[in-house]
């Protein structure tokens, strides 16, 4: 193997999986394997056992919630998110983001749970889930599930609010009202490669004015960054060109842009503003036009 020797287990239930995780501190869940296997092949992490959760049916459901929203199992694959009629109907943005993820090989295996637990600064779903105000349901020792708002779930790069022995069970999404819209905009190095800048926006319009907004930037720091100042600047405004441009010029929060071989920090920050603006306009276009 390219990886160091390690143990492998395929538990039959979520309860068994969490029990194994609790009893093996060096164990990690294996979902689609599109990130963790690469990390292991590079021998860049100390993992001594993999607990394969990829076939647990409990984690693979796409369910309608009574309020009109969705509960998406952590083990649902991108390709399934992209093609599920229920997702297309209720929250098409989730299907679109899954559909636009990297390439067909990764989409066939990668999972929603794996994506958010990895929480790479360039990961596609974390900023979207924060913007959508999602709730992350977590399976621990008992049959009880604890819930964490997406805004608190993403702790730092490659870190999230899971305690040892816990698994992400599912992601719960509220329905979108007719006066709400979502925008998601990305600048990529090339068609199927990493993002250089990303913005996800949810907003609600009340008549002529923006009544509520969540503006989240990806790629710019340890975690998806809510932009309080931009949101505040948007509230009460009508969402016209000039006011949105002014809003995205507000001071950015929670960012720590680093450069790499593809883009400088300065460019990333500038692009974050541009893409925030575009995502805001995209979201606004979906809200019902004021009477």
């Amino acid at each position: 193997m390219l990886a160091r020797p390690l143990k492998y287990a395929r538990p039959a239930s979520v309860a068994e999986a969490t029990a194994l995780l609790r009893s093996h501190p060096g164990a990690r869940p294996l979902a689609g394997g599109q990130s963790i296997v690469n990390v292991l092949k590079l021998r860049a992490a100390e993992v001594d056992a993999l607990i394969d959760i990829s076939r647990l049916e409990e984690l693979r459901t796409i369910a309608a919630t009574p309020d009109g929203g969705l509960e998406l199992g952590a083990g649902v694959r991108y390709v399934e998110l992209a093609s599920a009629p229920l997702v297309r109907e209720r929250l098409p943005i989730v299907a679109d983001v899954a559909d636009g993820l990297v390439d067909v090989q990764v989409r066939n295996r990668g999972t929603l749970g794996g994506n958010i637990c990895l929480n790479d600064p360039t990961s596609n779903f974390p900023p979207l889930l924060v913007a959508l105000g999602a709730t992350i349901r977590i399976a621990g020792a008992g049959a009880e599930r604890r819930s964490v708002p997406a805004g608190d779930f993403f702790v730092g790069p490659y870190r999230c609010a899971l305690e040892p022995g816990e698994l992400v069970h599912s992601v719960v999404l509220a329905p979108l009202g007719g006066d709400e819209g979502v925008g998601y905009q990305t600048l990529q190095l090339a068609r199927d490669s990493w993002a250089l800048a990303r913005a996800a926006v949810w907003l609600r319009r009340d008549g002529d004015a923006i009544a509520d907004a969540r503006v989240v930037l990806g790629c710019l720091g340890p975690r998806p960054a809510r932009q309080g100042a931009i949101e505040a600047a948007l509230l009460g405004g009508g969402g016209g060109e000039a006011s949105v441009s002014a809003a995205v010029a507000a001071p950015l929060e929670g960012i720590d842009a680093v450069g790499d071989s593809h883009a400088s920090p300065e460019y990333r920050v500038e692009m974050a503003r541009v893409y925030a603006k575009r995502a805001i306009h995209q979201a606004l276009a979906q809200t019902e036009a004021p009477a």
Binding site: M1, L2, R4, R43, D103, L187, L189, A190, R191, D192, S193, W194, L196, D260, S261, H262, A263, S264, Y267, E270, M271, V274
Partner: protein, 822 residues
């Protein structure tokens, strides 16, 4: 056999110029190819290389004890052992570059990240890797230098103490009188600096070899994907002290090479030594990250102090430039690149006065290999930038300026100032065709409309004109080192009639997907009157059974000329032997004999014919039936060496015929730029190709597509970036080195004209490198989008951020271009 059985002698229709299906594709597409990694040998071990994590360091103690103690580990090999067992590889460079010491493994120092330091052989691939991790190497870190110009500073760390400075080769090439031209021109355009970035190719198959040093015979079998085995043999033989006759190279299928697999010889040599030490065959299969980091990169080149004399009517007289080519840590195929650019010294233009002060620098980066378009694409790009910048700065129309300075159709063969002959061509017609296919006028209208309406997008239209010079005169090596006993070129082929009259061909080339089996079958079939499907061209290459010369291999756009030239010669020899035997059997004279559909018959007499099986019978198994003088004159095994008609170039004036054929590319691109982000969409991409007579247009088309995709990827996404401080490669795998994929490459519109070469045996020209046309084309498109008075495009690599910065360049910023007019 009965003579009456023979079919009517209707000559098989020629397939030259038709898209005959590639014979190779069935096995390649059905997973039935045999690549080096598919080769298995009894008792074989797997090698893993311990590689340098540092860009520049002195090697201290190496402890292999823990690795060797592991169960299943067969042997290790260190640089100290290599130093004791071998001589450094020979160098092409003259003094002082020739003093460079390059070994199969790092000796004394490491000079780039990923350099092989220790080889570990074990029972499985995984174990070899685990054992390699257990090898302990002490390093004493040294300062690294990765910048091509900073490395020339007297305070820069020196890579090779034996040379004493970071220069591998330096010379001035001058033709015409550039000083006179600069004095007398109406305008002199000066450009501070142009930079051609470092990128590479990404063959699907990384380097690989299975190497066995046979103890009984001392024959070393190398089943590798090295693309120029004779060159490898000539480098390895003196280093390890074994005769070339005992170096047995074999390859069947090779998954792309692009020039990079010429310089795999040091690692192959390491595998040989390890095989001898362990007494076992050694299998080496590179991981992708090893291939990206440490196999071979394309050359980076920086051009400074460019001066261009231009007349009022737009005639460009030439240029004066300093070129700094960055070879990385070792020279290997270099400094041949130091002269190879001069095959296209004036580019696609009638430039008369040229001066290039060429310096090849050494830095703590991966060594270079002769990557597709090698050394010419850097130079051609510089010339295209010059022409484009001249148009931009002096207000000439970019189309008209090019057409005015191209050689005109009636000027071919066109002699360049350094004595090369552009054999045939018609660049103005190609450009017209390209503009028409691209709907140039329509896009100019659209561009103006967009300018009016704003909207945050702008359009740029660019033209790139490049050449693909093919069939080198190796005599040009003497221009970099007068002591090198190289000249001319050639390739060998062997065509035989087998026992039952079948036709079998073997070639000296080592193809990597270029379809040699197909085009050789077309060529031989044409001469022997047999359908290509009835000819067996042996797959791949084998020193033990194939004909070869020292230049054999597949590289540098030459197979259509040299490889097929050899096939033609060998097939004609066989044809003449068949005619002689048939004439004897049929009581006719050889010139009355015609070959068609596998039968040799007397022209005009259907009754008198003999099938090839009958010919084979007479020569191989019924030889007493032939008169002795005929039997002695034929073997039905015909070897031929094609030799292009070259002379030795003149060392003093650096002139001569350096290449035989000149294929040409004219590309036209329309890009749309997002002004807020610098993000580029290619809206239209047209590639017009001229490569003489096209033996198989589908194969040509494939090469045109590949070369275009390669260049587009390099222009927008692919770049090797090194950290200035640590010398670490920041784009060392496919996450960061984004090789263009099908979704990145726009729809390519292709067109062609055919100007048969008067110099080649079949009118064909070598092709496939594509001259790096997209780099020139996209830069010109960006320049066009920036408009008059805008920033100047000075780099080959223009990802979104660079375009964004160009768009934002302040009008009072110092410009890299200056125009002085009289």
């Amino acid at each position: 056999m009965s003579v009456q059985d023979a079919a009517a002698p209707t000559k098989a229709a020629s397939t030259i110029g038709t898209p005959v299906r590639r014979v190779e594709d069935k096995r390649l597409l059905q997973g039935q190819g045999t690549f080096s990694d598919d080769v298995w040998m009894k008792r074989m071990g797997y090698v893993h290389f311990v590689r340098s994590p540092h860009a520049h360091a002195r090697i201290g103690d190496i402890d292999v004890a823990r690795a060797e103690a592991m169960e299943g580990v067969y042997a290790t090999l260190t640089g100290a052992e290599v130093e004791a067992m071998t001589e450094p590889f020979m160098q092409i460079a003259p003094e002082p570059g020739s003093r460079m010491e390059d070994y199969a493994l790092a000796v004394g120092k490491v000079r780039f990240v990923g350099e092989p330091v220790v080889a570990v052989l074990a029972e499985t691939r995984a174990l070899a890797r685990d054992a390699a991790e257990a090898v302990e190497v002490e390093y004493e870190l040294l300062e690294a230098v990765v910048d091509s110009l900073a490395t020339l500073s007297p305070t820069a760390p020196v890579l090779h103490e034996t040379i004493g400075k970071n220069i591998g080769y330096q010379d001035t090439y001058a033709w015409g009188d550039i000083d006179w031209a600069l004095e007398h021109a109406d305008h002199v355009v000066s450009i501070d600096k142009l930079h051609f970035h470092r990128f590479s190719s990404t063959p699907l198959e990384c380097n690989a070899a299975v190497v066995n040093w046979d103890r009984g015979t001392d024959v070393i079998e190398v089943r590798s994907n090295n693309q120029m085995p004779q060159f490898a043999a000539m480098f390895i033989s003196p280093a390890i002290g074994m005769p070339t006759s005992k170096l047995h190279f074999v390859s069947q299928d090779i998954g792309g090479a692009f020039g990079l697999k010429i310089t795999s010889y040091p690692t192959i040599a390491a595998c040989m030594l390890l095989s001898r030490k362990a007494g076992r065959p050694v299998k080496w299969t590179e991981y992708r990250s090893e291939a990206v980091t440490a196999s071979a990169h394309g050359n980076e080149r920086t051009f400074t102090d460019i001066k261009v004399p231009v007349m009022a009517d737009g005639t460009i007289l030439g240029f004066d430039v300093k070129a700094y080519d960055d070879a990385g840590a070792f020279m290997r195929y270099e400094p041949l690149g130091g002269v190879i650019w001069s095959q296209v010294a004036p580019g696609c233009y009638r430039l008369k006065h040229l001066r290039v002060e060429y310096t090849q620098v050494l830095t703590n980066k991966c060594p270079c290999g002769p990557n597709r378009g090698y050394s010419r694409l850097q130079h051609l790009w510089m010339i295209e930038r010059i022409v484009d910048i001249v148009a931009h700065e002096l207000g000439f129309d970019p189309v008209e300026l090019r057409k005015k300075n191209y050689p005109q159709a009636d000027e071919y063969p066109y002699e360049t100032p350094n004595g090369c002959f552009y054999d045939s061509g018609d660049l103005p017609r190609m450009l017209d065709l390209g503009l028409e296919l691209a709907d140039y006028d329509g896009w100019r209208t659209r561009q103006a409309e967009l300018k009016e309406s704003g909207g945050g997008k702008r359009i740029g239209i660019g033209i790139g004109s490049t050449l693909d010079s093919g069939t080198n005169n190796f005599g040009q090596a003497r221009l970099v080192n007068e002591h090198l006993p190289f000249s001319g070129n050639g390739e060998a082929a062997h065509v035989k009639l087998d026992l039952y009259g079948e036709i079998a061909v073997n070639l000296g080339s080592s193809p990597q997907g270029q379809g040699h089996e197909t085009t050789a079958a077309q060529t031989v079939g044409e001469i022997l009157g047999v359908a290509p499907t009835d000819i067996h061209v042996k797959a791949g290459y084998d020193t033990a059974s194939h004909a070869y010369v020292g230049f054999s291999g597949t590289y540098a756009s030459q197979f259509a000329v040299t490889g097929l030239g050899a096939a033609i010669g060998a097939a004609e020899k066989l044809r003449d032997e068949i005619r002689l035997v048939a004439a004897t059997a049929l009581g006719a004279t050889p010139d009355e004999i015609e070959l068609a559909d596998g039968v040799a018959g007397v022209r005009g007499d259907e009754e008198r014919a003999i099938p090839f099986i009958g010919i084979a019978n007479l020569v191989y198994t019924n030889v007493a039936a032939l008169p002795p003088e005929v039997a002695d004159a034929v073997s039905l095994n015909c070897r031929y060496v094609y030799r292009p008609p070259f002379e030795i170039p003149d060392i003093e004036t650096k002139t001569g015929e350096l290449t035989l054929t000149y294929a040409a590319q004219i590309h036209v691109a329309v890009v749309e730029i997002d002004e807020e982000t610098g993000h580029t969409e290619i809206l239209k991409y047209v590639a017009i190709d001229e490569c003489g007579r096209r033996i198989n247009p589908q194969i040509v088309e494939g090469q045109v597509h590949g070369a275009a995709a390669h260049g587009i990827g390099a222009a927008l996404h692919e770049s090797f970036v090194y950290d200035e401080e640590s010398g670490q490669l920041l784009s060392g795998n496919f996450y960061d080195y984004h090789a263009a994929t099908a979704v990145d490459v726009p729809l390519l519109l292709t067109g062609e004209i055919e100007c048969p070469s008067p110099r080649s045996p079949n009118g064909a020209k070598g092709m496939g490198e594509g001259g790096g046309a997209p780099l020139s084309t996209l830069c010109a498109a960006f320049q066009d989008a920036l408009g008059a008075g805008g920033a100047v495009v000075t780099d080959t690599h223009n990802p979104s951020e660079r375009v964004w910065r160009l768009l934002r360049e302040r009008s009072d910023a110092p410009r890299p271009v200056e125009v002085v007019s009289r």
